[in-house]
């Protein structure tokens, strides 16, 4: 028998990384500046989180120049979408279990 928390994914079981995947799963793509603003993190912090997600194959990062300014677009992969859905479902189930246990 495994502990229920073992179903949690260490790569995305983190507030900012969960937020990044949540935003990206709603959109076709989001740029670095938007994610920084909406998640209220510094550029360095966001870069680190994105690097972890990219290495795990959850996001893809594309850099380019648009309207004479550099832009970094981030897209969620199919694997990232599935991982987010599984993580949210696991967390909700765990929280529900704890709430039920506390009531009993």
């Amino acid at each position: 028998m495994t502990h229920p928390t073992s179903a949690l994914d260490d790569t995305i079981h983190q507030r900012v990384r969960l937020g990044i995947l949540a935003v990206l799963s709603e959109s076709r793509r989001a740029d670095f500046g938007y994610l920084k603003e909406i998640l209220e993190v510094t550029a360095g912090n966001l870069s680190q989180h994105l690097a972890i997600l990219e290495e795990a194959g959850h996001v893809q990062i594309a850099k380019g120049i648009e309207d004479k300014r550099s832009r970094t677009w981030i897209t969620v992969t199919r694997k990232g979408r599935a991982a987010l859905a599984a993580e949210v479902a696991t967390m909700k189930a765990l929280l529900e279990g704890i709430t039920t246990a506390q009531r009993a």
Partner: protein, 204 residues
């Protein structure tokens, strides 16, 4: 004593983790909703104006009349302007959405509205031919409002239904019907403009 301390520490850690998990879930939900809001408004506006114009056309006497011509041109022109605005806004705001879902919803609503009108004609029921499209589209808006969690769309759905019921129930004259439709169109334009303005202020 040691057992008591261990139990206390375990409870504390568990409580902190639960709080963290709740906070993480709430934060991801906030981020998801915010992204959805930032992307959705212009496309939603496009759906509203395009389909409202078609419904208005079915409730107007003839497409060839000056008023009919207004609905024929105002809808597509307004929708085109909003589509261009939405495309530019998405690019500059930094979050890019696919318009496919909204295009599919608009096309679906228009096809259903057109079919409702044709069914009314086929079975010789003029009321269905005339008011069917409005009722179908109002129902479609209601579903869309629930999916988008949008009070604006829900209000338009109720208003369209109320206008249609008023035209049928009170047997309003063509002039009164036109005035109601123009009123609804104007209110929708204002609501859409206000909604997009609020959305713009929220954007970074």
């Amino acid at each position: 004593m040691i057992q008591t301390i261990t139990a206390f520490v375990t409870m504390e850690v568990s409580s902190v983790n639960v709080d963290e998990a709740r906070e993480s879930l709430a934060f991801s939900e906030y981020a998801r909703k915010r992204a959805r809001d930032d992307m959705g408004r212009p496309w939603l506006a496009l759906v509203l104006l395009a389909s409202l114009s078609v419904v208005s056309l079915s409730l107007t006497d003839a497409a060839a009349s000056p008023l009919g011509l207004f609905w024929v041109f105002a809808g597509p022109l307004g929708a085109g302007a909003i589509a261009l605005y939405a495309y530019r806004r998405n690019r500059s705001s930094g979050i890019d959405s696919s318009p496919l879902a909204y295009v599919a919803i608009t096309a679906g609503l228009l096809i259903l509205a057109y079919t409702a009108g044709k069914v009314g004609f086929a079975f010789g029921v003029p009321a269905v031919a005339r008011f069917g499209p409005a009722i179908v589209v109002a129902g479609g808006y209601f579903v869309l409002a629930w999916i988008e969690r949008s009070w604006t769309v829900a209000a338009v759905s109720f208003a369209l239904l109320a206008v249609t019921v008023a035209i049928i129930g009170f047997d309003l004259s063509p002039q009164q019907s036109k005035a109601l439709l123009f009123g609804l169109y104007g209110i929708t334009l204002l609501a859409v403009g206000f909604g997009m303005r609020v959305g713009r202020q929220q954007l970074p």
